[in-house]
């Protein structure tokens, strides 16, 4: 039986008494690879932060693996921030960024132990970024940057991986590579929750989509969820859905006419 890994029960979240969403109930099964889509300001990042525990709900309950937030094993939830929010001029190398993932282990000494270095080398190898471990984070490609932060999240063997807009700020090829990599991770049993603005990437790559606008509008496989009706309720405007040789394509209705 599949059990929900993430469970939000009647959760209300807001900043300074301005609610972002209220009475939200949502559960995400273990093993899902789910994408949250919705317009800017609809609360996608806020939803992720609620799951991560960095935003505290006014009301309701958030359970991860059946336990209240904050009681989970350190590193059980992996997080990859939006690349645009990273301070690229900060003086750290790829290796040091990955090492930060191990800071959950509360070792006091500043320098890494031999075991820690071994684990960093191993995860870097798995993600194909061994060659740039000693590079400054500014001096690697967008795809490698994405993988460096992915490695930091994966080094603790998380059950859940949360990514905020992994498809933005990188070109279409890197976007494809990243989603492909996430697929592999998902097949190894990691539950993945991400946000994105790219409906076509969701349609092409993701098995599960959640249309979100201050609440869940609809969820399910993209083929079932992406209907003009649901999309118009999520985004307000008119969006057209095409079937192009078995691939789902979403476009502005105006561009279609």
């Amino acid at each position: 039986m599949v059990t929900p890994l993430i469970e939000l029960r009647d959760v209300s979240v807001g900043y300074r008494h301005r609610p972002v969403f209220t009475h939200l109930s949502l559960s995400i099964d273990e093993g899902r690879f789910a994408g949250i889509v919705g317009p800017t300001g609809s609360g996608k990042t806020t939803l992720l932060n609620t799951v991560l525990g960095t935003v505290r709900p006014h009301a309701g309950e958030v359970l991860i693996g059946g336990r209240p937030l904050g009681r989970s094993r350190p590193g059980e939830v992996g997080y990859v921030p939006q690349l645009e929010t990273v301070d690229w001029s900060f003086p750290v190398t790829v290796e040091q960024v990955i090492l930060m993932g191990l800071y959950v282990n509360r070792r006091r000494l500043p320098w890494p132990s031999r075991e820690e270095r071994r684990r960093v080398a191993q995860i870097a190898e798995e993600l194909g970024i061994s060659t740039c471990l000693s590079h400054h984070i500014r001096n690697i490609s967008g795809g490698q940057q994405q993988r460096a932060f992915l490695a930091r999240a994966l080094i603790n063997h998380p059950r859940l991986l949360v990514l905020d807009e992994p498809t933005s700020g990188v070109d279409i090829k890197t976007q494809h590579d990243v989603l492909h990599l996430l697929h592999q991770l998902n097949r190894q049993g990691i539950t993945i929750l991400l946000t994105t603005h790219d409906l076509n990437a969701v349609a092409a790559h993701l098995p599960w989509v959640i249309c979100f606008n201050q609440g869940v509008i609809a969820e399910g496989p993209p083929r079932e969820v992406f209907t003009p009706e649901v999309l118009s309720r999520t985004y307000g405007g008119e969006l057209a859905v095409f079937d192009h040789q078995g691939h789902l394509l979403i476009a502005h209705a105006t561009t279609g006419s």
Binding site: P81, D87, P91, T93, G101, Y103, T131, S141, K173, T174
Partner: protein, 327 residues
């Protein structure tokens, strides 16, 4: 000649001042790294003014000078943090409002009770020649607290300075860490106040760290360079101020500015000399931009150097070339 050079060492006030400048320089250099990397350079300027206001307030209320200054500076730091947290008030504005208000309170109090104007002049402009043994012990204690704190909390500090939100997700107590850092910063400012002066502390905090950033791309190296440079600037600045007969705080800051300038020129020249531009590869990524071949941008020059899509190397080729898969 040698006699002239060694002359100041004969005076105890000078030796005390030298120790103070050494420790304060190192302390400010060390702490400054976190301030510069967080983009909060203005905080030193602000908190030192708040501390001055606190000192005057403490004096007026008959509380210990140090105690009043530390408490007020710490409270100011917390206030700034709270005010700027939700993003509507930016941190530079929060610093400006909170600390200037407290400074103004100090100035107002001084102007009412004119008789102690003189003793606070030292705090404003620094009077290293009046350093007492008690001052030295206070500075040494603060330096020890800061160094031990840094050693024990190096990892969480590094992570939360780099990316506070992500650090929180990884279980690092970022709020408590921020409070601890604010407290140490307040202590450091009070320890430095009589040496470099309220008006110069900001520079003592920022210059060594910024210079170190120019010279290094590694966090740990930056910390070490900044600490050593701070100490060196403190000692040499103070020594020079004796011979030039100039204010010690100002001389230390001028030496720092000169060091920064030298580092800037050095890095620019080094870049010019070693930088060139052509299409090159990192693994399967090919791109072209001006770069040097040291350390992190190392690549070999063998292999095909034919630019993608028939373009010659140059930054304009970047967009086209970057993701060309190579044979």
């Amino acid at each position: 000649m040698l006699d002239t050079l060694l002359e100041p060492f004969a005076f105890e006030f000078f030796r005390n001042g030298l120790w103070a400048a050494l420790m304060v320089g190192a302390l400010c250099g060390m702490i400054g790294v976190f301030i510069v990397l967080r983009g909060m350079s203005y905080i030193g300027h602000g908190l030192s003014h708040a501390a001055f206001g606190g000192a005057v307030l403490g004096y007026t209320l008959n509380v210990n000078f140090y105690l009043g200054a530390v408490i007020v500076a710490f409270v100011a730091a917390l206030l700034i943090h709270q005010l700027s947290k939700d993003g509507k008030i930016k941190s530079d504005a929060a610093i400006g409002i909170v600390t200037t208000a407290i400074f103004a309170l100090g100035v107002a109090l001084i102007s009412r009770v004119r008789q102690f104007t003189q003793s606070f002049e030292a705090a404003l402009f620094g009077n290293i020649l009046g350093v007492t043994t008690t001052d030295l012990w206070v500075i040494a204690a603060v330096l020890t607290v800061a160094a031990v704190g840094l050693l024990l909390f190096y990892r969480p500090l590094l992570f939360s300075t780099f990316d506070r939100d992500a650090a929180a997700v990884f279980g690092i107590p970022t709020e408590r860490l921020q409070m601890g850092f604010s407290l140490v910063l307040a202590l450091a400012i009070i320890a430095s106040m009589n040496i470099v002066g309220v008006t110069m502390i900001a520079a003592a905090l920022i210059i060594p760290a910024s210079t170190a950033r120019l010279l290094s791309d590694s966090f740990s190296a930056m910390l070490i360079i900044s600490t050593l440079l701070g100490a060196l600037l403190g000692v040499s600045g103070l020594y020079a101020s004796y011979h030039f007969d100039a204010a010690s705080g100002a001389t230390i800051v001028l030496f720092g500015a000169a060091a920064f300038l030298v580092a800037l020129i050095y890095t620019r020249i080094r870049e010019r000399l070693t930088m060139h531009e052509h299409l090159h590869y990192h693994g399967d990524v090919a791109h072209a931009h001006p770069h040097t071949h040291d350390g992190e941008h190392a690549h070999t020059h063998d292999g095909p150097l034919t630019p993608a899509k028939g373009r010659t190397g140059g930054t304009t080729a970047l967009a086209d070339a970057k993701y060309e898969k190579l044979p």
